[in-house]
Symmetry: C4
Subunit: 270 residues, 4 copies
Amino acid sequence: MFESSRLFLFNLKQNKIFEFFVITVIIVSALEIGAKTYDLSEGTLLFTKYLDVFITLFFLIEISIRFLAEEKKADFFKSGWNIFDTIVVIISLIPVNESETALLARLVRIFRVLRMVSIIPELRILINSLLQALPRLGYVVLLMFIIFYIYAAIGSFLFHDINSVLWGNIAISMLTLFRVMTFEDWTDIQYETMEVYPMSWLFYMTFIFFTAFAFLNMVIGIVVGVMDEEMHKERLKSEPSMSELQAQIQGLEKQIQILIERESNKQPDK
Amino acid sequence: MFESSRLFLFNLKQNKIFEFFVITVIIVSALEIGAKTYDLSEGTLLFTKYLDVFITLFFLIEISIRFLAEEKKADFFKSGWNIFDTIVVIISLIPVNESETALLARLVRIFRVLRMVSIIPELRILINSLLQALPRLGYVVLLMFIIFYIYAAIGSFLFHDINSVLWGNIAISMLTLFRVMTFEDWTDIQYETMEVYPMSWLFYMTFIFFTAFAFLNMVIGIVVGVMDEEMHKERLKSEPSMSELQAQIQGLEKQIQILIERESNKQPDK
Amino acid sequence: MFESSRLFLFNLKQNKIFEFFVITVIIVSALEIGAKTYDLSEGTLLFTKYLDVFITLFFLIEISIRFLAEEKKADFFKSGWNIFDTIVVIISLIPVNESETALLARLVRIFRVLRMVSIIPELRILINSLLQALPRLGYVVLLMFIIFYIYAAIGSFLFHDINSVLWGNIAISMLTLFRVMTFEDWTDIQYETMEVYPMSWLFYMTFIFFTAFAFLNMVIGIVVGVMDEEMHKERLKSEPSMSELQAQIQGLEKQIQILIERESNKQPDK
Amino acid sequence: MFESSRLFLFNLKQNKIFEFFVITVIIVSALEIGAKTYDLSEGTLLFTKYLDVFITLFFLIEISIRFLAEEKKADFFKSGWNIFDTIVVIISLIPVNESETALLARLVRIFRVLRMVSIIPELRILINSLLQALPRLGYVVLLMFIIFYIYAAIGSFLFHDINSVLWGNIAISMLTLFRVMTFEDWTDIQYETMEVYPMSWLFYMTFIFFTAFAFLNMVIGIVVGVMDEEMHKERLKSEPSMSELQAQIQGLEKQIQILIERESNKQPDK
């Protein structure tokens, strides 16, 4: 009897209409979050409260169905997306009163919108491919962090007394350098320090060149990596490789060799 | 008789001089629109009024010729460009007096310049290729919208009381985030919220990283897509594929096999 | 006798030491131009005057040598670089007194630095490749101009009364839109018009999307074009094409066919 | 005995735990530099002083070990990284008192963080590849410098009297143009000069176009260069080239030719 109900839940989970209904509830949940940022009337506020309870319960039921529909319960938590969904649902269950945790609970509710990603396969693939590209960037990011750290240390030592809001300590300096990297009013910062150290434009110039160059290198690295993969995939899929052609031609050679040898054997017979 | 006049119109439509004349009128129409943005003398204003009537009539006649020259009248409206041209011409016919619709009619007249695109084949191809690239981007745009929506919701909840002009509701917040994405005075916004939430730089940093990464992914996706197509096209056009070469080599193998078999049959004969 | 002196001049022109000396004079000329932007003492000013006369004369002599060294004098003006050099030298000869043409003559002298490009072959190749890439971009630039023109016309009509400094006429509006495209304080412009037309953010958003998309398309177009050329070149240079391999394999097939036919002819003989 | 101790040091240098310990000390050294940018208590300051002595001594010992472990002492200074490490260590040994050299000594200490790059092989490879890409860019950088120089000279001549802070001399003008290239408040500069020279927007527009175009060209050049190399490498590694296939097919042809000739020789025998 358990098995038959599991199969029922599995079929329900796979059902297109059910999936469509889940997406609808997620969208409603997203719209509700958006609506709450406006000044609402008393009645609408009460309505969103009931809507909230409904959405919370619906998500609880939906994740229960997906959990119960799984053949091996342990497999359920092997998928990162399932773990993410479960955490979002569980935290939603924490009762929200006017205490200080209300803000936190509200923020968690916003992450429900991310369930859109976990339910639409195309978005899930997109996120996975983004995550796969990350490790490839690991060392470039480390190098960029070292550049930031060194320049922030120099900036703190030299410019600390000029403007402590921008160069007060190494953490603030790194934030200021990130601002310089985005070209956001960076000349204001530069002109300020150039009054004390006239050569400090060298500091900004070299920093911009190093980070731009490292960033460029990163982008090119990804492009080349992605294209290599694409080419490799294509080659594997549809076309025989050069080596296969070579092997076949070598096969031909051996057979012709056999022919020539036989001919040679015949000749002396004559 | 109808057919012969249709053919006359068709030849007129295909005529290079006629086409050149149409482009000239479109350019004159564009220049007139530009000239109207300057303060003009009474006389010139009167002249532009007569010019306007002439252009409107000319476009009406031109589209009539193109419609009548069509063999099957229904085919005419199968082309999106023809529909676009017809709508622009029809709306131009609405009489413009000093009422409030004057502004709208004026705006529609500006879209006449877009007829430049519909008349020059190279621009039409360019626009078509741009439109074809759009669906490929569908899911990346959806993902970017989700990122914007979540960050706008968080921004509204946290920063609403700090600056309601920038973070008043979710729509305004999304506009503010678009501003942050273009790096436009984003540090002013950041410093303002950092006074209340010192860790809010994390909000901006992560947002910039996510959107930049998604944007990068989009660009790379297009580049790879376009290059794949180009390579595929080139391969189809001029060169035999690897598989064709393989098939030919296999043909050779069979023939040599026949030779070897015949030799083998001869041998025992001896 | 004329021919022998032509050969002498030709050898002089080709001489590495002479070329090095020309480059040195160009660099000195560039440094002199840079030095003049500083406040100089009377003595130095006098020195630059004499230096100027020397450089002008040297360039006159150098271009004469290059002209006289040419076998067919008409060929000299077939190269755009020679024409450019000649114009720069001739305009330098115009006497500079303290009249209003002094500024113009001074500006022309700055273009002498561009002779650096005409004398170093690698830079000449670089500039040529840049110029070759331009026509490929022709239609994208035209499309971008149409987008700018339409948005500038709309902007002029709608925002003229809000801020005539930014939207006064279509030319000023196009300049403002170029500013928006570079993201330079574009939100200030946006907030100003949003006070009157709250939906005008749509105007800026769509403009940014269209221009960014067209720009992206342009960049991708160039990248794909350049890579296609590179691949084509490489294929032509070092490697036999697929079609050549196919032709050779077909040659093999025919020869084996001959063998099989001869065997067939022998068989009935037995 | 010397040789055995050299081997002991060599083994120590290669030891994973020793390497891990070196990296830890570098990180501690980096953190200490960062900590010094904050206001520290007397006790902590004293602690950083002792830490500093320890780090300096440790680095001295570590580089001695690496030097002594080298078989041929001259080879040690053939690696740029070793020279860099030695210089950093030696300058660290200069005693730091409250004199004016204190700042310099402090700055040198910051460069210790760069030892992170010299100790982690992946970062070393990354930096090497960045350095290898530089010469390829040589002429584009030269061209960009010429563009900057010419525009800075023009800017100095024309706008000197409008704003001497921005256009005072050619060096300041080049800095201002770099600011324009990063789109940083460039319209403020433009509006200022347009009041005197209404056509000066042409100056900025053409400058932005030229530099953007040269920059784009540079990026495309690197991408194409990197991809060419990748393709070349891949081709060399795994796959036989087209020419090899061609050679093999020609080998086949010769053998079949031999077969045909023998057949021909047999025929007349009959």
